[in-house]
Point group: C2
């Protein structure tokens, strides 16, 4: 169920002293034999791109999509750190490359944590030597634990394909918004795939998973999803591999929503009947990011008025009289009015950990789904002070 | 300091039984002599337009911008109520017109409160007769009180122009977002102005005041700003009248932010140095509506990392190394790093009721300001259940 569930990869994780509380904060994922394999990445579109994101892009370009390892730290995002931060990210790759016996270009780097503080490079330098020593075929879980920030549980996945396997790990509990989130994910597979195909498949998988997840509308500076493909299982039908990657990403995205800061509900919000898929996605996201709607979910209140108002404010075309709103199979609004509902069944659904909300706009065949969360007292507690 | 501070207008407000707690819920503003005067309106762009908004638009079109009175109720928004809601809004105008002795087209109507429930028309019909009986030249305060929903204080304004006066009242404490808010405002003036000019001036005033206010990113179905101009003070330079209207609207907008649901901070967020004013506005709004940033304000935390990340995610062009972030005159981020600050002065500013946050993007001359609020436990308490 981890990145090391896949033939050809080793990993490890430990504490090197970035986090003041002594929890694990440094992880390494690498190929078992130290040789480079196919690598692909999808990154944040935030203009304040963090240094490690820039370095990953540069390295994938320089190698034509090959990598031997990924070094990841939590506790410090190395973002908004200027030229010094860029040099630190490059230095992390150099030290890792020395330990792995590869070229620095063949190392990718991810950081997550506080924005705007210089990395403690002495601790990291010493830590990379140690984390490389601990690389082992059962180290995926330790790696997943070492990339956690406000996550309360590590997030791993495994999807068994047709003669190949996809493994993965991810972190992310807030600043979660499409394109993508304060999230890192590393996927591994033993399927054989060329870098160009791998990049396309990974983009597709991200589009239908992480990019459908929104917790608080805050897009981060460091979002990164990486794929390493060892090829040990031989060639695979790209569409089959693509489906397995999508399934892995979706599994990790839902785990992130379930573990989102302070959340008590994971909400699967589907918009159907929009004029286009794009309009459906716009309406879904506009509603999922509404503070008032999120408060209603927290209060287990199926009040559809706020849902309808958000749909109306989403900047898309529809007839207000054709909108239907459904919570868990109970229609709470249709034909311009609130019909009779099975109050007991509705209350039971609203009290659950997961809510299914479907809004049909009655215009066309456009559909979209977002996975989101409620807004709670605990979210505020967790975010009102950074120190 | 009210709508009746202006020569030529009377008003009144009382409880007619829409609100179950017995608080005032019906208001009337009318011309003193029962004759129609110049009228203009600016309305929500929400697709789920409430019935009273549709009726206002129709009536202003039918009369060419003339009105004798405005009837307003709180406690029920008459929104998402279909054809029956539209008939109810028209009926409110007819009953008011009978009481005022004018044509129904010369009456404008506003509703605010819960979405999606039919108006209690028996109570409203009886109430309109009574509220018309109470019309008086000192009734502005009673009218302002009768349009409150979750507002804790009535909101009034008065701006003395060059030989004329602008008076006004407004309500709004949540679902506040540009274009416009769950807000109603009625302005009066004794300046003489034709309907076309009045509409243009009102649009300009709204653009630089209510449309710069955002509390929770939720745009409502009922937002309406109306202007009645009696002409008793004679002709006025339109630009002078425009400035007075802007000042009135700004005063009411800041009062709304100060009284926003559960808020402990009113934040004046200015973006300068953007490529264009439009990009500045986009960046300002994207940041003002960020839950994480709002939580920081609540926690009196000047953490600039979240501000920078939101600027980066706003979809505008700038160089991350040229961004400067300033709280109350203390630069907390510049030249790619956090400089030394006067910690005592910064803490004192962050502890105040009002925060001044300026972000300079270092690109050009584009500027924008938004007025917004923090996100608090009390906001959640107020919004997690509708019943």
């Amino acid at each position: 169920m981890t990145v090391t569930a896949v033939e050809g990869f080793v990993a490890s994780g430990l504490s090197c002293g970035i986090k003041s509380n002594g929890r694990p904060d440094l992880a390494l994922v690498a190929t078992t034999d130290g040789s480079p394999v196919t690598a692909a990445g999808v990154f944040t579109s935030n203009r304040m791109t963090a240094a490690p994101v820039q370095v990953c892009r540069d390295h994938l370009l320089a190698t034509g999509g090959r990598a031997t390892g990924v070094v990841l730290n939590s506790g410090n995002a190395n973002a908004a750190t200027g030229a010094a931060g860029l040099a630190d990210a490059e230095r992390m790759c150099e030290i890792t490359a020395e330990a792995l016996g590869c070229s620095p270009d063949e190392v990718l780097v991810c950081s997550t944590g506080w924005i705007g503080y210089p990395l403690p490079m002495d601790a990291i330098t010493a830590g990379i030597g140690r984390v490389a020593d601990f690389l082992n075929p059962a180290g995926g879980q330790a790696a997943a634990e070492a990339i956690m920030t406000t996550d309360t549980v590590p997030k791993n996945t495994q999807v068994d394909g047709d003669g190949f396997t996809v493994g993965g790990m991810a972190k992310g509990a807030a600043m979660l918004e499409p394109n993508m989130a304060t999230m890192l994910a590393v996927l591994t597979t033993d399927a054989a795939v060329d870098p160009t195909t791998a990049t396309g498949l990974l983009q597709g998988a991200v589009a239908t998973s992480f990019n459908c997840l929104t917790v608080d509308g805050a897009e981060s500076t460091n979002d990164t999803v990486l794929l390493l493909a060892s090829g040990r299982a031989g060639p695979t039908d790209p569409s089959v591999l693509g489906r397995a990657l999508s399934e892995s990403c979706r599994d990790l995205a839902v785990q992130m929503a379930d573990d989102a800061e302070g959340s008590t509900k994971t909400v699967f919000l589907t918009v159907t009947g929009a004029a286009t898929d794009t309009e459906a996605a716009r309406a879904a996201r506009h509603t999922a990011n509404c503070q008032l709607v999120k408060c209603s979910w927290y209060g287990q209140d199926p009040y559809w008025g706020r849902i309808a108002a958000q749909m109306g404010a989403a900047g898309i075309a529809f007839d207000p009289d054709t909108i239907t709103i459904d919570y868990g199979g109970q229609v709470v609004y249709a034909d311009g009015r609130a019909p009779e509902v099975n109050a007991e069944a509705l209350a039971a659904h609203m009290a659950g950990r997961r809510l299914d909300l479907t809004v049909d706009l009655g215009q066309g065949t456009g559909t979209a789904e977002v996975v989101t969360t409620d807004l709670t007292h605990a979210y505020i507690d967790e975010n009102m002070r950074t120190s």
